[in-house]
């Protein structure tokens, strides 16, 4: 019985420590561009795509470059390793994961949030009437 408890406790403690360590290494916080610049570590920033500014694909580096405005209305250039994400045009907001370096946000992953089919999507109904 005692041995069982000790072995169990040791296993759980080891697991917790191991979990905490791998958690520290893979935890990504939400931040805005200001914080991203300040921390310099990997964060995720939510914002909207600034459609008026340049957005292009650099085929040599296979990077997609666009401008994003965060919740504090700060605009930054985002350099994403990959092509323009699916559903990018219709996204209501964009979440970019990466780090801020040398005046630009270098993203490794981009999530696009698409508008709900119903909520506030009134133009679509009107459009489909034409």
């Amino acid at each position: 019985m005692n041995i069982k408890v000790i072995v169990g406790a040791v296993v759980i403690v080891v697991f917790l420590i191991f979990g905490a360590v791998s958690f520290m290494g893979s935890n990504v916080e939400y931040a805005d561009f200001g914080k991203a610049e300040q921390f310099g570590k990997k964060v995720q920033v939510k914002g909207v795509w600034v459609k008026e500014k340049e957005s292009r694909f650099d085929q040599k580096k296979t990077q997609f470059i666009f401008f994003m405005k965060d919740d504090n209305a700060r605009e930054e250039k985002v350099i994403f390793d990959g092509a323009k994400p699916n559903n990018f045009e219709m996204a209501t907001s964009v979440v970019a994961k990466g780090r801020y370096k040398d005046g630009a946000f270098h993203a490794t992953e981009i999530l696009t949030k698409c508008p709900s089919k119903y909520n506030g999507d009134s133009t679509a109904v009107k459009k489909s009437m034409q």
Partner: protein, 713 residues
């Protein structure tokens, strides 16, 4: 209207069933007919509602907001059928239909085993909750109610919005329904466990529950793997498992179910672990409900690729209540009965199969806990974890599980000391890699093990799968590359040559032929890309499978080769291959009508001054805008640059930064523009092992299910 009436009827029938069966369970036998009637009414009404929705879909009744929102006239029949569960409302209705089918099967099954009243009280309560959800978020809402003030009453849109192109493929037709059958079936083990607590029959319940648990594990596992294949082979997400919250939340209850199967075997044999099994059976279903809450309430809005936006506070509250009510029923009853359950102190020898099965289940639970923590993290803090967290956590667990499986199969239920097991497994330990497989096949010959072999088949495969889940992700290599037309390129040891694009599907999509050569063998891969209206670019990969690894090619974009991009501010000069290019100003006038053309297009030119040596010229490439969207304008030829100049972005700035543009200088030696294809190529090892493991797992669970079904009579 008729649909809504059906839903109200289903709700009333459900309440009658819960009441009737509930009273029967409290020894008022005369109420059983009310329970059965309620079950029948609820079931028929739900099926009728489903038929009505299907009719609306098939007849293109766009007065129904759901039909309008998810389908259109152009969809072929199989996709049209799949729009039934493309949205939240329809998928809940689909879930309810699965529940109805299961309730009929359960009625037959429990009648002969004298469990009908208790099990069905609980099951019908769950079904009624689904119906209440459907009443708040109805698939029968009319388009005029859904968009008040947007449409005149009685005016029906001529066509619908259509189905998301990402969902328009074969896997959409089968993956979601299979998954929903699994979700609905997860309720059954909860009902059996809680009914057992209710009836104070703590020891024998698992014999009747076992075939159901195996069925659930099989069907949910199948659903998960179909989704994985969809993501891998079609959606081009580059992998089959991304540790996305939606993926995780169907995986966690499945892992718990698998752990439960093992601990149930221990209880069946030794009589201990009674409370553990109750907890696991209750928790597995609560996790399905929790998963529904996570993915349908909008709480994970920002951390999932499966986007479900906020369905409103009503649904949020109801989903929360759904989880809460079943948690209170399950754990409440367990708490009330806990003193009544006389603990069976079975002294398990360390080197007995029981102990090792328990260890295996514990390892599975640890994995579930780690995934649960990572998935739920966004709820409690404003952070998320990277996929690497799940990989790191599961790798050691999987290794442990692998060792446990190899060894536990060699152990008997009662073992005097460890030597027997060690001796028997020694030679297999030596053949480390094959050991697990062979141990299984040997195990079948032992009489005692025949019973267990069925159950252990999947245990072995969980291990296999999980190992590759982690392993192949780790050893996959990928590379981005631009393939010039007809220009062989070396990528990851393969020689790739881009051979041009070909329209497929009536010209709606483009298929890109890439000749691949490696060690003398030649084949052609044809990934597909297509512009899907508002949804942007869709990319389908193509895969060449060999026995040990897959070669995976995703298209990224098609580019004009030789194009160089330059970003410049107004008034600024840059040098382009020996020449100076200066951005003079925007030119709104030279294209007539002050930039705004009659057809609503607006054309803006960028005046560039190109100077080389003593020569100067002005070129004005243009860009066009149509209702706010950029569309390509004219490419201006430049003699001095020997190239075409195009504008790919414009920023007409008022602020301190001023105006800026991005130009593409397109050079082509042969006169016409030459295209090149940008791809992402990767090598994924062990994929065949993963898929064949999944198939074996599925078959193993089926065999086991029939075996346990016979046993339960």
């Amino acid at each position: 209207m008729a649909g809504t009436i059906c839903l109200f009827l289903a709700c009333a029938g459900g309440i009658a069933a819960v009441a009737g069966y509930g009273l029967t369970a409290f020894n008022k036998r005369q109420w059983i007919e009310v329970g059965r009637l309620g079950l029948a009414v609820s079931g028929l009404a739900i099926v009728a509602a489903a038929v009505l929705l299907m009719r609306d879909i098939l007849t293109h009744n766009f007065a129904n907001a759901y039909v309008w929102g998810y389908s259109d006239r152009s969809l072929p029949l199989h996709f049209l059928l799949s729009t039934f569960y493309a949205g939240q409302e329809g998928s809940f209705l689909f879930w309810a239909v699965c529940s109805v089918i299961l309730s009929v099967a359960l009625l037959r099954y429990t009648k002969s085993r004298n469990l009908e009243a208790h099990v069905l009280t609980l099951f019908m309560l769950s079904q009624t909750f689904l119906v209440v959800l459907l009443l708040t978020r109805s698939p029968f809402q009319s388009i005029w109610d859904a968009f008040p003030g947007q449409l005149d009453a009685g005016v029906v849109p001529p066509d619908g919005k259509g189905l998301n192109p990402l969902l328009q493929n074969f896997w959409m037709v089968i993956h979601p329904p299979v998954l929903f059958v699994g979700f609905a079936a997860m309720a059954v083990q909860f009902c059996f466990a809680v009914a057992a607590l209710w009836r104070r029959e703590y020891s024998r319940w698992m014999i009747s529950a076992m075939p159901w648990i195996l069925f659930t594990g099989m069907i949910l596992g199948l659903g998960i793997m179909l989704g994985a294949y969809w993501a891998y082979g079609v959606l081009g997400w580059g992998g089959y498992w991304g540790w996305d919250p939606v993926e995780n939340s169907s995986l966690i209850p499945w892992i718990i179910s698998m752990a439960l199967l093992h601990t149930l075997l221990v209880q069946k044999r030794n009589g201990n672990l009674i409370r553990t099994n109750f907890v696991l059976a209750i928790v597995s279903y609560l996790l399905v409900l929790y998963s529904t809450f996570l993915t349908r309430s909008g709480v994970l809005g920002e951390s999932s690729v499966h986007s479900f936006t906020d369905p409103g506070t009503m649904v949020y509250g109801l989903l929360l209540a759904y989880v809460g009510v079943f948690a209170v029923i399950g754990f409440g009853l367990l708490l009330v009965r806990t003193k009544d359950i006389s603990p069976v102190s079975f002294k398990m020898q360390f080197f007995s199969r029981g102990t090792w099965l328990l260890l295996g289940s514990s390892a599975l639970l640890l994995s579930a806990v780690a995934i649960f923590f990572g998935t739920s993290l966004p709820l409690i803090s404003k952070t998320t974890v990277e996929p690497s967290f799940y990989d790191a956590m599961n790798l050691p667990i999987v290794i442990v599980i692998g060792l446990l499986i190899g060894f536990s199969l060699q152990l008997r239920w009662e073992e005097e000391n460890g030597w027997g097991g060690l001796k028997r497994s020694a030679k297999w330990t030596l053949i480390a890699a094959l050991g697990t497989v062979i141990a299984f096949f040997l195990g079948v010959k032992d009489v005692l093990m025949i019973l267990f072999a069925f159950a252990s088949l999947f245990a072995f495969l969980i291990n296999l799968e999980a190992a590759y889940l982690v392993g192949s992700g780790k050893y996959a290599t990928k590379e981005h590359r631009t393939l010039g037309y007809n220009m062989p390129e070396q990528v990851l040891g393969y020689t790739l040559t881009y051979k041009g694009a070909r329209p497929i599907d009536d010209g709606k999509k483009l298929s890109y032929a890439i000749d691949v050569e490696k060690d003398g063998s030649k084949f052609t891969l044809t990934p597909v890309m297509f512009e899907a209206g508002q949804q942007g670019m869709m990319r389908n990969p193509d895969i060449k499978s060999s026995f040990t690894r897959d070669f995976y090619v995703s298209p990224i974009s098609l580019e004009q080769s030789g194009a160089e991009s330059y970003s410049m501010k107004k008034g600024e000069s840059i040098s382009v291959s020996g020449a100076e290019v200066r951005f003079v100003k925007f030119d709104l006038g030279s294209h007539g009508m002050g930039g705004a053309a009659a057809d609503g297009k607006m054309i803006v030119g960028a005046q560039l001054e190109v100077s080389a040596k003593d020569q100067k010229e002005i070129v004005t490439p243009t860009m066009a805008f149509e209702s706010g969207n950029k569309i390509p304008g004219d490419v201006a030829p430049s003699n001095l640059l020997h190239a075409g100049v195009a504008v790919s972005a414009m920023n007409i700035g008022m602020g301190p930064e001023g105006s800026s543009i991005v130009i593409d200088v397109v050079r082509s030696s042969a006169g016409g523009a030459v295209e090149s294809l940008v791809i992402e190529a990767s090598i994924k090892p062990g994929m065949n092992l993963l898929w064949s493991g999944s198939v074996l797992l599925f078959l193993g669970l089926i065999v086991s299910m029939f075996h346990r079904k016979k046993e339960s009579l």
